[in-house]
């Protein structure tokens, strides 16, 4: 269905080709997953299928790409619109109209389908994607998962034979991601649609793939094969594969279910371990701090007594935005050295809570104190010494032309000694050149730069909003190491995340928000193992034992 013949793409002004010598054939009705670390050209390959590369992006494409027999060299993207549907990383950049129903119809209108056909397909698609209740809603008022489903629906209605998706689940909470993936699976099974998608969060998608195409590193040849065979050697792999490799399971299981069936002997070995090696959630316990307070909710709740003044304290914090109550009576305390994850579905109020803690949002009622101060009353200069936030889009923080200028500006903003920020950056991630434009950095590098800028003022409290969005496993591992060191040095870290694996690996405590209220707050193992949608893969495989990550298991077995 999709055929790449010896394809190389070179962008204008680039040193060499971004992808080189790609030969790939995706048969009709298959779901192929494109895997690999960041920056190896996955998005370029996906763009070449719809013809956007090179017709829209510029650059030179050598070789030949054909989709359903049409050569992208002679067919512009708009002439491929009836066979290829493309959804990019950011669904908001995809929408042309303003309501759900119009958006679903837009592609068909462009193709000139008759009105009765359009009407029927819109109704079918609304049902297929569970959007019927949202049909008249303005798109801007939908949550991230709903927007992603609308974006997929909008390319489905013209009945394309090929669907190309770039990170369809990276911005979604676990439940919404499952929703989107099950829709994709239905399309493949029921309609015979061919799907090619790239995704960093392999733990979410690998089980759905018929084949995996792996780009192991920039410039290396593409390897295509059965998911289990590819995963056995891939540099990027989900925890279930990590555990399988550790335990030497053959064939390598890709789903939690298959892994559980193979895991009997491993569970026996682990349960026979002496008790002191039993899993402890706090690999780096908070230095000289009281154990994380578990909030007791309900009447008669007394304030948690603690010898220490917590770094962050919110009491009855509520925030209203117009008619929406974004937060309702949130009580949260975080002590120095603690790492807390805020989880919950898109729109649950995680970002609002973080914004309140840095004073971007004023509490409607209740109080939020950070290091004894009221964040929204503090001047920006005072504030950065108390709390730093790395926003969802780290690029927002960056405003200079070069990394060096960015670091110098950060030193000046924080009144730090010149070179402080640069030294921090080199510590966190060596090898970023001074003269690079921040825009040219990879996602992981950009995040690290933003982190270094925020840390220049040495705030005791660090807030991160979706830090692992768009990061590959290597970048994530580095981030985990960096944050652990910061926590060991006494920084309190609060992060909003959808990434259950990250929460399991890194955090001491998880607070789950729903509709602006804290519905659960407690030590990470207790919270994540008690709910299937927040449980990491290892916990699911080794339940009822409470292991959370591959590295825990590895350490215990060593």
């Amino acid at each position: 269905m999709i055929r790449f013949e010896d394809v190389s793409v070179t962008y204008d002004g680039a040193q060499g080709p971004t992808v080189r010598g790609i030969g790939l054939h995706v048969p009709e009705g298959e779901l192929m997953l494109l895997a690999g670390p960041s920056g190896v050209g996955k998005s370029t390959l996906l763009g070449a299928v719809s013809g956007l590369v090179p017709h829209f992006t510029g650059g030179t494409l050598a070789g030949r790409v054909t989709v359903a027999g049409r050569d992208t060299r002679t067919h512009k993207p708009r002439e491929l619109a009836d066979v290829v549907g493309t959804v990019g990383q950011d669904p908001l950049a995809h929408f042309v109209t303003d309501t759900v129903e119009d958006e679903l119809a837009y592609g068909m209108e462009s193709l000139g389908l008759p009105a009765p056909v359009m009407r029927r397909r819109v109704e079918e698609t609304l049902d297929l994607l569970g959007l019927a209740d949202l049909r008249d809603r303005p798109i801007a008022t939908l949550s991230g998962g709903q927007q992603q489903r609308v974006a997929i629906g909008s390319v489905l209605t013209p009945h394309p034979r090929v669907l190309v998706l770039d990170e369809p689940t990276s911005a979604l909470d676990p439940a919404a991601a499952e929703e989107v993936l099950s829709v994709l699976q239905r399309l493949v099974h029921d309609l015979g649609t061919t799907v090619l998608m790239a995704e960093h969060r392999l733990e979410r998608v690998i089980q759905y793939a018929d084949q995996v195409a792996l780009l192991p590193a920039a410039g290396e040849p593409l390897r295509v094969g059965d998911p289990a065979a590819i995963m056995a050697e891939s540099p990027v792999f989900p925890p279930v594969v990590g555990l399988g490799r550790l335990a030497g399971w053959d064939p390598l299981p890709l789903t939690v279910r298959n892994a559980r069936r193979a895991a009997g002997p491993l569970r026996d070995r682990l349960s026979a371990l002496p008790p002191h090696q039993a899993p402890s959630p706090l690999q780096t316990p908070p230095p000289n701090q009281a154990p994380p307070a578990i909030e007791e909710r309900g009447p008669g709740r007394s304030p948690v007594a603690s010898a220490h003044v917590p770094l962050v304290e919110t009491r009855g914090l509520s925030v209203r935005r117009g008619r929406i109550e974004a937060l309702r009576r949130v009580d949260l305390q975080v002590a120095g050295g603690e790492i807390v994850a805020l989880m919950g579905r898109n729109g649950a109020g995680k970002s609002t809570l973080l914004s309140t803690l840095v004073g971007l949002v004023k509490p409607t009622t209740g109080t939020a104190t950070v290091g004894g101060a009221d964040p929204h009353r503090a001047t920006p200069r005072e504030l950065i010494r108390k709390v730093g936030l790395v926003p969802q889009e780290p690029r927002d923080l960056l405003c200079a032309d070069t990394v060096a200028a960015e670091c110098a500006a950060a030193d000046k903003d924080a009144d730090a000694a010149p070179g402080t920020c640069r030294a921090l950056l080199s510590d966190l991630l060596p090898g970023i050149a001074d003269g690079t434009h921040p825009r040219d950095l990879s996602e992981g590098q950009r995040l690290t730069l933003a982190l270094a800028i925020v840390l220049t003022a040495a705030p005791p409290l660090l807030l991160l909003d979706e830090p692992t969005r768009g990061l590959d496993y290597a970048a994530k591992t580095r981030l985990v190491a960096v944050l652990r060191n910061l926590s060991a040095a006494g920084h309190a870290i609060v992060m909003a995340t959808h990434d259950v694996e990250l929460a399991a690996e890194l955090t001491h405590r998880v607070a789950i928000l729903a509709d602006g209220e804290v519905v659960a707050d407690g030590p990470t193992p207790d919270i994540v193992t008690s709910s299937p949608s927040f449980a990491p893969q290892v916990a699911k495989i080794l339940a009822p034992q409470r292991w959370l990550t591959v590295s825990q298991v590895e350490k215990a077995l060593a």
Partner: protein, 374 residues
């Protein structure tokens, strides 16, 4: 017959009132406003427009623009009054409010005055005038709040549709830009820099424009990939005829308009103008054959749309008619100062404009929208 069956139905897509009807209604009210300076009638018009908006607007983003138009109207009144105070007013008045120091101006600036006497008559006249303009703005705002701009676009002829999409996309840019400015100012605060003041705003200017450019490029890519701009093959003869008709039509429109406006050419002006319009329409119709687009559920012009449009037109007609009958009631004199009277017939005509609040489908009670960005 049960009373409930007389009430307006719940709104959904199929019974939505044609956006053109809303615009005719609003322009009708606007025409009525332009015919009077009577503050009571103008207030009544604002009340009618406001009531209909309150009763029938949805939670959609475009519906929020009404508040902006109201604020703009207030600003217009304010500016008009400030001008009247500082630049004087041509209205002769006897009720002195205050005498400002007058700036002496050279001879060549005769007729211009800065400072000087401020009379109550002048202020009242300026207020009436400003209120008229504000009412016009509020009527336009009401149309904006009630009719979705993109649905209006669907009623355009095929040849203009694609240009129209570009316009709508451009219009959605303003809210996006504002969101960007907010986000980047927040980011400045996170870096410990002052986030308020003009300087802060200027420094986020460049990143905001960069972001806007990036977004427009990715939107263009998405639109292209979804078939925007697909054309059908048409014979070259048709293409040439389209070009000739459109160009000739436009020239005809220009020449005809000139003829109508110039004193000498009144004889040939009208026929040339009409011929030009006809040719241009023909060009558009032929041009529409190149586009392959079809339309999904275009709004139908039904009985309710007729009622909405007719109520606006009736309000305008009554006002124009009574302007001929009793001009003094519509333009209350400010010299000498007198309490304006509420003339019966024009007021009744304006109240006809309330009809849409009862006959158009009622929107659903507001649901709790999920936050777009978590």
């Amino acid at each position: 017959m049960a009373v409930s069956s007389l009430r307006a139905p719940r709104a959904h897509r199929s019974n939505a009132v044609h956006p053109g009807a809303w615009w005719i209604w609003a322009l009708g009210l606007g025409t009525a406003a332009s015919r009077t300076t009577n503050p009571l009638l103008l207030a009544l018009l604002i009340g009618v427009a406001g009531y209909v908006v309150a009763a029938r607007r949805t939670e959609a983003p475009w519906a929020r623009s009404y508040g902006a138009f109201v604020k703009l109207g207030l600003a217009v009144i304010g500016i008009r009054l400030v001008f009247a105070v500082f630049l004087g007013s041509p209205i002769p008045g006897t009720h002195l409010v205050v005498t400002l120091p007058e700036v002496p101006l050279p001879d060549w600036a005769q007729g211009v005055r800065i400072g000087g006497r401020v009379t109550l008559e002048g202020l009242v006249f300026a207020f009436y005038d400003g209120l008229k303009l504000a009412t016009l703005l509020i009527c336009v705002g009401a149309a904006n709040a009630l009719a979705s701009p993109s649905r209006l676009l669907k009623s355009l002829p095929g040849a203009l549709y694609e240009a129209g999409v570009a316009v709508v996309v451009a219009m959605t840019f303003a809210p996006n830009l504002i969101a960007d400015v907010r986000r980047l100012r927040a980011a400045r605060r996170l870096r410990g820099r002052p986030d308020s003041g003009l300087r802060g705003l200027l420094q986020v200017g460049l990143p905001v424009l960069e972001g806007a450019l990036e977004r427009s490029v990715s939107l263009a890519a998405a639109m292209d990939a979804r078939g925007y701009g697909r054309t059908a093959e048409v014979p070259p003869a048709v293409r040439r005829a389209t070009a000739a008709l459109t160009l000739g039509g436009l020239i005809g429109v220009c020449a005809g308009t000139y003829g109508l406006l110039a004193s000498s050419g009144a004889g040939y002006g009208l026929p040339v103008l009409l011929a030009g319009v006809a040719a241009a329409l023909g060009g558009l119709w032929l041009g529409g054959r190149r586009t392959v687009r079809t339309r999904y559920r275009p709004d139908v012009w039904g009985v309710r749309a007729w009622l909405v449009a007719a109520s606006g037109a009736a309000a305008a007609a009554v006002m124009v008619w009574s302007g001929g009958q009793d001009p003094a009631a519509l333009q209350p004199p400010v010299v000498p100062l007198a309490m304006p009277q509420l003339p019966l017939w024009p007021a009744a005509g304006i109240l006809l404009g309330l009809l849409p609040a009862f006959v158009t489908p009622a929107p659903h009670p507001p649901t709790k929208p999920t936050e777009a960005a978590s």
